[in-house]
Amino acid sequence: MTMYTVNQTGETASSTVTRLLKDLLGRNIADAVLVSAENPWSRLPMPTVFTDSANMDRVVPLAPSTSVSFARQASLLVRGPAGKTVVLVLKPCEIRAFIELAKLNQCSLESAILVSMDCPGRLENGDYVALAAEVQNLGEAFPSDLSFQEKLTVTCASCDAFIPDSADLQICVTGMDGKLGVKAGTAKGEDIAARLNLATCEEPQNRAEALSALAGKRKERKTALFSETASTLKSIEGFQAAISRCINCYNCRSACPVCYCRECVFLTDVFVHPPELLLERAARRGSVKMPTDTTMFHMTRMSHIAHACVGCGQCTSVCPSEIPVADLFRTVAEKTQSYFDYMPGRNVLEPIPQLVARKGQSQE
């Protein structure tokens, strides 16, 4: 993959990226941009749509934050037949989620330009706001100060998929000797780089090494986390213990970028049982915990989305009961994805495994 140089003297990394985004609007390559931006009342970056580069003062494209699933919001913005072209600046896991949604026709890749970066990871919203109050321009400071790594969510600290392989334009930060680079991951990306007249450059020697060092560290944490989690899940008691604090608020479900059902069965009357049944169950089992069907909820969700889980960690972030939902789902998802030999969001042409009609698996 060719690397392009984008730095201008005196610019910070985020102002370089912002200038690039403005350029995409200015040269009519895109009609709109969806990117992290602060607002007058809050430093917490939200997915924000711009159509005019003049309004993009509060944009923070490299902020270590994903306050809400950007992929889900992006899918609301870019859907239907190709219309306006929208640049989506998303973290790598969100790019993968967006591509999964595209496979389900819940958004359209044709009208999207996917821009992503070597991911700095993200902080929980509260932690981000607190740190942003202390540190000027957190997006700049974050990648270079290793002490910040400690503040990452558990999910990000154990994420080894932080390179945006499937994005059209990939902003390179890690091992770049303080500069920025851009790589085109697709033909669309190449075309845009050409239209922006970007000059090519050599990939710094340090980069590959820096990336693999970080990936190695992350992978180690991931392996430890997954094996610990798997050992807690491996019996029906263990499963229930893991979700025992769940209050069935379904926050994890609505925060999930790949929970694709338009109408979730858990929001219907299917699990609203007649009182007699609840009493009968209580008599038979000794008691009935309400709200009911908590195990059913989590197992069903796993059975539906384990193949598509991109490991973004939003479910953990929104859980009021502090259940490490993402640890559970990522652990299960890794096994499911290896069973199907599938990586969600790797390539839009890779079909959803359960929709592949393929003979040959034994009936067992």
Partner: protein, 147 residues
């Protein structure tokens, strides 16, 4: 081994069979009219195609106390909806992989192609599955479900 198994000689297994209308259900009918008896423990649910089996049907059966879940569909190539059965095969494979992670015995979930004219095969597979489940003993999942 997390799903404790205890042998109860006189126990009657609870078995849910999710069967396709066009093949396995017809085969069951045929078995009936041919006076081929098959185990009475089976609670048969007729579906229009195995392709409509959502993972949650299987999970619900197990969590609510099924000792075994049998799925019967058309032979590959014979599905009335072209390839519902092959998609079902993938989905069931994924579900088996999932429940295994939680200590369920995957042998309790079986998929079998049984064509409409295969009355004797229906009898054979049902008997065999019931024997398998009886040998395994009752599933302890329902009794251990609290949440």
């Amino acid at each position: 081994m997390s799903e404790t198994e205890t042998q109860i000689p006189s126990y009657k297994p609870r078995i849910v069979a999710l069967v396709c209308n066009w093949c396995t259900y017809t085969a069951a009918d045929l078995a009936g009219t041919s006076r081929l008896s098959y185990p009475a423990e089976i609670r048969m649910v007729r579906l229009m195609c195995t392709g409509m089996i959502d993972q949650k049907y299987i999970l619900k059966a197990f969590l609510d106390g099924a000792d075994g879940v049998f799925i019967g569909g058309c032979h590959p190539g014979d599905c009335h909806y072209l390839d519902g059965n092959l998609k079902a095969e993938r989905r069931i494979g994924g579900t088996r992989n999932l429940i295994e992670q939680f200590g369920f015995y995957p042998e309790r979930l079986k998929l079998q192609w049984i064509g409409a004219s295969e009355g004797p095969e229906f009898q054979h597979h049902m008997t065999e599955f019931v024997e398998r489940i009886v040998a395994m003993g009752p599933s302890q999942v329902r009794d251990r479900m609290i949440l």
